[in-house]
Symmetry: C2
DNA sequence: TCAAAAGTGTTAACAGTACACCCATGT
DNA sequence: ACATGGGTGTACTGTTAACACTTTTGA
């Protein structure tokens, strides 16, 4: 860090790739419809400029709440995009975040800076503003990798979920068939799922028992050097 | 991204944690002695403000070359530190990078912005400016994890190295004993080392054959879905 | 001939993979 | 009784982990 020779003129923004999941559907991404230039009327990742008196982490959280009414269950920094020409007006660098929510717990609503906020299937994305396509691809890649060695997928499911939801989630995100028996054995061997007395009500076929993920136990094990791993 | 309500006043900097390794010594980190305020005369990570017309990636490379005469063999973005109060003067966010070099190929020299540039053992670090201690800890953690599933350690060794250097490197970085036979078997099973006709000259004991790391083959395998993994 | 480091195989335990049928429910 | 999805065990295969002596060189 040093004093600038002449005044630096770079703006700092945040953008968030928020994933949501509804059982047996594609993975979804949250986009907002811009109501200001540039790309007014176009879809983009939620985000915006960082304020002078807030941390970058706080900035994403604020923007997500302002633009879509969402407070993600999981949110971590993804990557900082710092190339030239990202924004047609000014030099803007963007600190991108990756977040996970359970959409059924979060009613979307668009506020001041956005005209609309919607879930889009990652397989049917509209074209998006700025370099947001690159950011989304980076996030997807990270999610696919990370879900295999950290139990972050549970943030996308209901508090109580049938085992099959977990199966479907992994199939959807990793994008390949899994062996139901082996997958269950592996997950169960960690002892991180608590069985509830409830069963899944809807749908046909035999009702599945509902489980919860034991976050506390995971933290404990993690501190003892335990590594969650799938596949 | 949106228009600012009032003008945003945040500076964007880069900082680099550059690791170096000399066989059978601790892992080293490159620090520079600041010749400007704040912390003038104190040690700090190489880095500085990003210029308006360069990408963030280019900024680190420039600063590293200006401040220490170094062009790292491996360099990747680490994390962006965006809290308030990092710099006593202005609001500054810093995009931190992690780099690896083989110190014997890089003579350090301090240039304009630094009074001195030196290697420090990670076990005997002086106190460092700003929040650089946190940055260093983040980098170390990342290095220790990453070296176990990506063959980045070779960037710290000579082009031609005896197998024992690799052993010592892993012992040093991961910080635990390894089984020499199993380690060798594992590494050799990937077929990524080319045997040369040369042997290690210095030191006592039986001379070891020198190997080179086959970068091209690794890239090929990687594209086919191969994952390097140790332990 | 001694000290120092390089080089090398086998076995046992464990983890991963492949694979198919019965069960509980609603209609 | 049938359609739908839930729940389960075993045998095989590959991988990891534990373990110690011989070889080559320089002093």
């Amino acid at each position: 860090m040093e004093s600038p020779k002449k005044l630096q003129d770079i703006k700092v923004a945040v953008d968030a790739v928020i994933f949501g999941y509804f059982d047996k559907r594609d993975l979804q991404i949250l986009l907002i419809k811009r109501n200001i230039e540039p790309f007014k009327g176009g879809w983009a990742l939620p985000g915006g400029l960082v304020l002078d008196d807030e941390s970058v982490d706080d900035a994403v959280k604020r923007e997500l709440y302002e633009e879509a009414g969402i407070k993600p269950d999981f949110l971590e920094q993804l990557y900082t995009f710092g190339n030239l020409g990202r924004d047609p007006r000014n030099r803007v660098i963007s600190v991108a975040y990756l977040g996970l929510v359970n959409p059924s717990y979060h009613e979307l609503f668009a506020d001041s800076d956005a005209e609309d906020a919607q879930w889009f299937s990652i397989n049917k994305l509209p074209s998006v503003a700025f370099d947001h396509k690159t950011i989304i691809e980076t996030a997807l890649k990270r999610l696919r990798t990370k879900i295999q060695y950290q139990p972050i997928g549970f943030n996308l499911l209901n508090e109580e979920f049938p085992f099959s939801d977990l199966e479907n989630l992994y199939k959807t995100i990793v994008g390949q068939e899994i062996d139901r028996r082996n997958f269950r054995k592996k997950i169960m061997s960690y002892g991180l799922l608590n069985e509830t007395n409830n069963v899944k009500k809807e749908g046909s076929g035999r009702p599945g028992k509902l489980f919860t993920f034991n976050k506390e136990k995971y933290k404990e094990l993690e501190e003892q050097g335990f590594y969650f791993e799938i596949k």
